[in-house]
Every structure is written in structure tokens, then in C-alpha cells.
Amino acid sequence: MKVLLINNDGAGFADYIDVQDETSVQDLFNQRIGAAQESNYLIRVNRLPVPRDQVLQEGDRISITPTKIEGAS
């Protein structure tokens, strides 16, 4: 199935990706972000905070945004 992934960690691209059925938010985070701590990210599904074991649905919008983004001067 296809879901929309917006990864704001880095360049911030948005794209539709294929994921297997029964993929959870935790699974997708592990696949895309890797070993990073989940607590360091705001993970939203359809713009709402969700539990890590929530199973993704066709067409879901998932955004992953770091809690700390360093500005400059």
C-alpha cells in the first residue's frame, strides 16, 4: 500500500512510498530514520500524534520532524 512520508529530518522532501500491510509507525520509523531515538522526533499521522504501534493505513500522511532543529545567526 502507499503512504505519504514527509521526512523533515534533512532536506524535508515529501513523497509517496510503498509499505507492507500491517506496517506500524514504529516499523516505518526504524526503516527510515534508523537507530535514532523516537523521543527526538515529532511523529504525526494525518497531523495527529499517535501511539508507536499504530498500524498504517492506505493513504496515511506521516510526517517526521526533529524536536531540535538548530538555527544559526
Binding site: 505519504l4 514527509i6 523533515n8 534533512g10 532536506a11 524535508g12 522532501f13 515529501a14 513523497d15 509517496y16 515529532l42 504525526r44 494525518n46 497531523r47 495527529l48 510526517s63 520532524t65 526533529p66 524536536t67 531540535k68 532543529i69 538548530e70 538555527g71 544559526a72 545567526s73
Partner: protein, 338 residues
């Protein structure tokens, strides 16, 4: 409002902006292409050679322009995701769940959200309003970050956040995500990214360090003062406020209290380099208060002592002259005068 936003995104997105090939280059190329065969047909060899060289140069310039345009287009490629009106509406609804307030100004063409009060490393900076101006979409910074309850740095009123100056956020690591969010019209992500930057302190690249936010601590009295009202000790480098820093009357340099001492003679402050010890009492004095390495008191004392010594040496002779009667006439006898 959502329709206005979608129209603005579709019209002004940076992805829509193509780097144009300069008109002047194209016109020059067309002119040279007309001139070259005319020069050749008339047998003007030198002119034909010069036109040919210009033609090659112009074509190379044109080639570079085309490459630059292609690179720009590749970077700003059309997104694979097409944003719809419902996405904008859902974004606006999503913002209400994440921010204290969301304001849509249809007439002014702005969308504003207000963050909760922001505190970084114990320094309260207050809430910030992030105002996106739709008419500036496609430009480098189409939004402003306005302190709602400004707590600016002591040394600069325009710096309301370590990464905000004159209502402009220096995006740092957030530059690319913000650029793509705005290009796509992903308002929810845009406001979220800006908020996360505001909630992050990067001490390595701040307009003003949070350590100096409330001013600089005076190394002597401990008061927080504006950095402009401080002096750095020329001897130890300690920063002190203007009340605590001392100018040496001898060399006119600035020093902290610890690196100066008071002259026991004139009661003025001097740096250690401009002070000397009295050879006699070891107290420190400025050079003006010492005479031949002695302070005035020691000098007076020495003079008195010398006078006393002179007197004591002179006294027996005087006594001998004034009291000749006490001289024995013979052993055991003294002439007594009436």
C-alpha cells in the same frame, strides 16, 4: 482562504520559477549569425574571422546559461505529490491542535500562529507569532517571527531570540525543510519546523549567547550589565563594569580592581606596573610619591633621625663649653662656680 493559499502556492512556488536565458545573449547570437555569412560572401576575411570568434564565444555563454537553467530546474523539480484544497484545509485544522492560536487574515493575506512561551536554558523569551505572508511566497523569507512579549537581549533590542533578529529567523539546519514545505504549500509542516527551531538553542551560532542575554557579569561586583558598559582588564583579561574598572593614573590603561592598588601617598589607584615599594617601609607608592625610592614619611623620618644623630654628636662639646666647671681640676675634685 484555503483557495487563496492554494492559488498562491501554485503561482509563486519556487518550483515554478525557471532561470531564464538572457535575452541579450540570444539577440547577439542572432545578429552574429546574420553578419557572418555576409562578411564571408563579401570577402572581408578579417571581419569574418572576428565575427566567427564572437559567435563561438556567444554560443559558449549560451551553453553555460542553458546548463545553469537545467541545474536549477533539476533542483526545483516538480514534486511527485500534488497538493489539493483538502490538504490545505487539513493543514489549517491541524495547526489549531498544535498552537496556542491560529489567525487567518483574508484581507491582509496572512496566516499567523502563536507559540507557547519559549524558555531556553532558563532564559524566558516569551511566546512568538509566526506570520506567513502569502504575497511573499516564492521569496527567500516570506514570513516574520514576532516576539509577542519581547524579552530581548540587554545588548540588542532587535534580538528577541538567539536565532531571531529584526523579526527574521536564521533558519540554519531548518533551511531546506522550510524551503520544501513552502514550495509544496505544506503549511502544517512549515509552522511546525519554525516552532522547533525556536525551541532549540544552538550556542555555536547565535546572534547573542544566552549566557550574555541578561548582560555581562561584572568580574568584580557580579552585577549584570550591558556589554558596552564594560571594560576588559589589560592585565588579567577579566571583564568588569565601568563602575568597578579603574584607569591607572600612571599609564592610562584600564584594569580590574584586583590588578590595581592604591598609592599610600596620594591615595590614587595605579596598576602594579606603575607602583614601587618604599625601600624603607615596603609600602607601595606611585613613582611621583617616591623620592630616591623612599616615601615622604620615611624620608621625613630619615631626616629627623639624621638631625638627631647630628645633635647627639654635637651635644657633648656644647656641654663642655657651657659647663667648664664640671671639668675636674684634679681627680676627685671639681671647681664649683657660684
Amino acid at each position: 482562504m484555503a483557495e487563496t493559499i492554494l492559488a498562491a502556492v501554485r503561482r509563486d512556488s519556487p518550483r515554478r520559477q525557471v532561470t531564464p536565458v538572457p535575452d541579450a545573449t540570444l539577440q547577439k547570437l542572432q545578429r552574429l549569425q546574420r553578419l557572418e555569412p555576409a562578411a564571408v560572401s563579401r570577402g572581408w576575411k578579417l571581419a569574418a574571422d572576428r565575427i566567427h570568434r564572437d559567435l563561438v564565444k556567444t554560443l559558449k555563454t549560451l551553453r553555460e546559461s542553458v546548463y545553469r537553467s537545467l541545474d536549477a530546474l533539476a533542483e526545483n523539480a516538480e514534486p511527485s505529490v500534488r497538493w489539493r484544497l483538502t490538504d490545505i484545509i487539513c493543514d489549517l485544522a491541524g495547526l489549531e491542535d498544535n498552537f496556542e492560536s491560529v489567525e487567518l487574515n483574508v484581507k491582509g493575506g496572512t496566516i499567523s500562529v502563536t507559540t507557547e512561551p519559549i524558555e531556553l536554558e532558563g532564559v524566558l523569551l516569551g511566546p512568538f507569532e509566526i506570520e506567513l505572508e502569502l504575497r511573499y511566497l516564492g521569496q527567500s523569507t516570506p514570513y516574520r517571527v514576532i516576539a509577542k512579549d519581547p524579552q530581548p537581549a540587554v545588548s540588542c533590542d532587535a534580538t528577541t531570540h538567539p536565532h531571531v533578529q529584526s523579526e527574521t529567523l536564521c533558519e540554519g539546519d531548518g533551511h531546506q525543510p522550510i524551503k520544501h514545505a513552502l514550495a509544496d504549500g505544506r503549511l502544517y509542516d512549515f509552522f511546525l519546523i519554525v516552532r522547533q527551531i525556536l525551541q532549540t538553542y544552538n550556542p555555536g551560532s547565535a546572534y547573542i549567547s544566552l549566557n550574555d542575554w541578561s548582560g555581562v557579569e561584572c568580574g568584580d561586583c557580579g552585577a549584570n550589565v550591558d556589554e558596552d558598559d564594560t571594560c576588559v582588564c589589560d592585565r588579567c583579561g577579566r571583564r568588569t563594569c565601568s563602575d568597578c574598572s579603574c584607569g591607572c593614573d600612571g599609564c592610562d590603561e584600564s584594569f580590574c580592581h584586583n590588578c590595581t592598588s592604591m598609592c599610600e601617598g596620594c591615595r590614587s589607584y595605579y596598576c602594579n606596573g606603575c607602583m614601587e615599594s618604599c625601600d624603607r617601609c615596603d609600602k607601595t607608592f606611585c613613582k611621583d610619591c617616591l623620592t630616591e625610592n623612599q616615601c615622604d614619611d620615611c624620608l621625613d623620618q630619615e631626616t629627623n633621625e639624621e638631625q638627631t644623630e647630628t645633635l647627639s654628636e654635637a651635644q657633648p662639646e656644647t656641654q663642655q663649653e657651657t659647663c667648664p666647671s664640671i671639668q675636674p681640676l684634679r681627680v676627685g675634685e671639681t671647681e664649683v662656680l657660684a
